[in-house]
Amino acid sequence: MSKTAPPTDVYRAIADPTRRSILDSLRETDQTAGEIAEGFSMTREAVSQHLKMLRDAHLIKSRQVGRYRIYTIDAGGLHDVFQWASTFSAFWDDRLDRLEVELANRRKSARKKKPRKSKN
């Protein structure tokens, strides 16, 4: 059995804004389900559902500490989804978009320095 979640689970998990917010809040600090529920003014049941989806997608994991279950980001799960090649692929897509913006901005500022006869 593969430990990696099918990518569609990951898409479904992060397609929801509430789950993305949960992930964002877990980036900063590990939290219990209760703390998460507090932060989002949701019922414990609703939070449990979201956490289950995130766990199934291997985006978070939990550990039991005393009577509390602490949730944390699962970097390993993210890594399984983003093979290094696909990550760099997305990285370069992003940066090559920015290169186009840079080209446009450079030309704009070059025009400013060297003004031509204006029509208006």
């Binding site: 990518p7 569609t8 990951v10 898409y11 992060i14 397609a15 993305r20 964002d24 980036r27 970097a75 390993g76 993210l78 890594h79 989804v81 983003f82 093979q83 290094w84 090649a85 696909s86 990550t87 760099f88 692929s89 997305a90 990285f91 370069w92 897509d93 992003d94 940066r95 090559l96 920015r98 290169l99 186009e100 913006v101 840079e102 080209l103 901005n105 450079r106 030309r107």
Partner: protein
């Protein structure tokens, strides 16, 4: 070993694109902050925000430089050891950029940094694009 290839055509002259590839402040705006100089053998770093496990530094060295056509740099950071090659060709309507990155080993720290820096909206868009690519782009293997 894996290789990444990207091709873009920019509606700008080859000299303009070359300038963006080899001018340190320009690179800083579209790629990452750096102390690049266009000299073979020059060792430099790209710097970005650190995350746990990745200090945000990519260690590079200029391997080849052939103005205004080709630039190769080594690219080591997190736990990758790769070579990045940029090739420029004049085409009708602008300049074609062919980017190739040849690399080794997984790169968990870089992945984490990238995930955090890109933002969710883009991640979703790119995840889906990659997924579609792998489904319909390459060979479809039965599982």
């Amino acid at each position: 070993m894996a290789t990444i290839r990207k091709t873009r055509v920019y509606p700008y002259s080859i000299d303009e694109v070359w300038e963006c590839l080899t001018d340190s402040s320009s690179l800083g705006r579209w790629l990452m902050e750096n102390d690049f100089r266009p000299e073979v053998g020059h060792e430099f770093c790209f710097r970005t925000d650190p995350v746990p496990g990745f200090d945000g530094i990519v260690y590079c060295k200029v391997l080849t430089i052939d103005p205004p056509k080709e630039l190769s740099i080594s690219w080591r950071g997190g736990d990758v050891d790769t070579i990045v090659n940029f090739k420029l060709t004049e085409v009708s309507g602008g300049t074609r950029l062919d980017l190739k990155q040849t690399g080794f080993r997984p790169v968990k720290q870089f992945v984490t940094w990238f995930m955090l820096s890109l933002g969710w909206r883009k991640i979703i868009r790119k995840l889906l694009a990659n997924e579609l690519d792998s489904k319909f782009g390459a060979t479809g293997a039965d599982e």
